[in-house]
Symmetry: C2
Subunit: 339 residues, 2 copies
């Protein structure tokens, strides 16, 4: 191992302009820098797959969120899977695959703090470590089971149903014996929900969310609403909640800007009279449970219960456009960048 094995330059995508809504390619720029050497206690990760996640919008917006915003000029915060190429941390071996906060760049000089999980390549393709066997799958599992607590025979409605998280929620809910319904934004995704992702039924919300359509989709009402969208979809769904229903707030993809907060129908009376429970879920509260949940998801994947679909693009420079596309619903599966 000599320095000559490394390129002199680390290609990086940094935040150039802070967006107020959905980040677009013009909010980012390339800012290549000489690659640094790991210091004592550090190690060098070469990224293999970069994750493109709806949550990234929240990480660049200025408004209060669950994490500090990415500073202007800094590498775009992103999850990635990579391989350790140099190490000055005795606990981290060269050749180890890792999943963590390595950013939209070729290389990351990292410490243990940035690592979410060590990755065993025998469990599945490395790309799955940033998807079904990463925060995507673990979010689906924990938010559904810890907040939703669905019982066999209950109706679970997922929005959006064919997305990276939603497609896993549908399959887990089906596995748990629920009646599973989905809302998605394209006719081909409706078919995909039923054919691939375990949904009993799905509908295209762009064709209307009238009361009759939702009643036909969920004839016994809704016990668990897994909401990744908020907005008009949520407003149409809430009146169909059953007594003691649970609403899992896992994302708010349908609302572009929260400052000032948009208006919505006031929900206190429904919450009271139906004894609803509405609760937010952020995966980063639950990192300690990763190994257990990933083992469960791997087992279900091996038995054929849980499938996943990936939408993989080539090359670092595609990342900003790929992020904008997922807010337009153009991805077909978990969006990844292969380096």
């Amino acid at each position: 191992m000599t320095a000559a094995l490394h390129p002199l330059t680390n290609r990086r995508i940094v935040l150039a302009v802070r967006p107020s809504g959905v980040p677009q390619p013009e909010h980012f720029r390339r800012d290549d820098q000489p690659l640094g050497e790991p210091g004592e206690g550090e190690f060098l990760v070469r990224n293999l797959y970069l994750s493109v996640d709806p949550a990234q919008r929240g990480w660049v917006n200025a408004s209060a969120n669950y994490a500090d915003p990415v500073p202007l000029g800094a590498v775009m915060r992103a999850l990635a899977v990579g391989i350790v190429e140099r190490s000055r941390d005795p606990r981290m071996s060269v050749g180890q695959h890792v999943y963590g906060w390595f950013g939209w760049q070729d290389y990351c000089v990292a410490t243990e703090k940035l690592v979410i999980a060590r990755v065993d390549p025998a469990l599945g393709p490395l790309s799955a470590a940033v998807g079904i066997f990463g925060i995507t799958g673990v979010t689906a599992y924990l938010a559904l089971t810890e907040i939703g607590r669905p019982q066999g025979g209950e109706t679970v409605l997922v929005s959006t149903a064919a997305g990276a998280v939603g497609s896993v929620v549908g399959q887990i809910a089906r596995r748990l014996g629920c009646q599973v319904a989905g809302l998605t934004g394209a006719d081909d995704k409706v078919e995909q929900c039923v054919a691939e992702f375990g949904y009993h039924a799905a509908l295209n919300y762009r064709r209307g969310l009238e009361r009759e359509r939702l009643q036909a989709l969920c004839p016994r009402g809704i016990d668990v609403f897994f909401d990744n969208t908020s907005g008009a979809i949520a407003d149409a769904v809430w009146p169909h909640m059953n007594m003691r229903g649970r609403i899992i707030q896992c994302g708010t993809a349908a609302i572009a800007a929260w400052d000032p907060p948009p208006q919505a129908p006031r929900r206190e009376r429904e919450v009271l009279t139906k004894r609803l429970r509405h609760e937010g879920f952020i995966i980063f509260d639950h990192l300690a449970r990763f190994p257990q949940v990933i083992a469960q998801l791997c087992a279900w994947n091996r038995e054929g219960t849980i499938r996943y679909r990936e939408d993989i693009e080539e090359g670092l420079d595609r990342a900003p456009a790929a992020l904008a596309e997922i807010y337009r619903g153009e991805n077909r599966g978990k969006k990844l960048i292969r380096l």
Copy 2:
């Protein structure tokens, strides 16, 4: 015991017109009827105290609620404490005090189904059986502890703080080691909250709910919001919720009409990023826990931890006006009618 001991007439207050918002005296009328005799399995209760509760508005409105609306011409649904004067139910003795659904009338021909609890007059004044030792106190205890789950040192905010339920919530939260703050609608009630009901601090929401005033009231933010009001008070309070805060929806007294639903700031983003939990509470789901909770409240009352204040009016005919008054915040303690 002969029939001559009973008056021939049962004075009754019935629903005359269905109100769309707060019921007023003109929505009710007297409709006296000959008193019936209890049949096999029935017993005759003579009412001693009638309860006047904010929830009664929901019981007369036509819109969907947790109970069927009171039919036009029927006795107004109300809780009461009374004494059994005749019995053809072998399980119910003459002279037994009972708490239950006996309505705004002198007498009720009842069955066991209408009884919520048998009352032991040795535990306290009979009037307390429709207040602190009835649904009022049990609601305060169970909603706070089951949904709010306050930990010692956390901040609990109560709205409204001096009301029948709120005044008990404040004292229980103080007993549990919390920092307790209250919102109430009159300056004398602010003083009462601090002097009588265990609040560390309180403020009059009619003098403004600006951010600075709420920050001064709850300098460490709010962990548990016990909300009996909804409306502008809730909208001002929510932004002060701490991470993983709990919002207990126990009433919606500040909103007069829900059809069509009024608008409010959309809350999905706050629920998500702060991992808030918003949940509704209806006491009638929890009747099996009455004896245990009342025993706890009685013990705290004997040790001096929990006090209560009653606002007692004389005579059946005062009931409709008393109900309208509690929505205007004119009561000073739990509103009761003594017969």
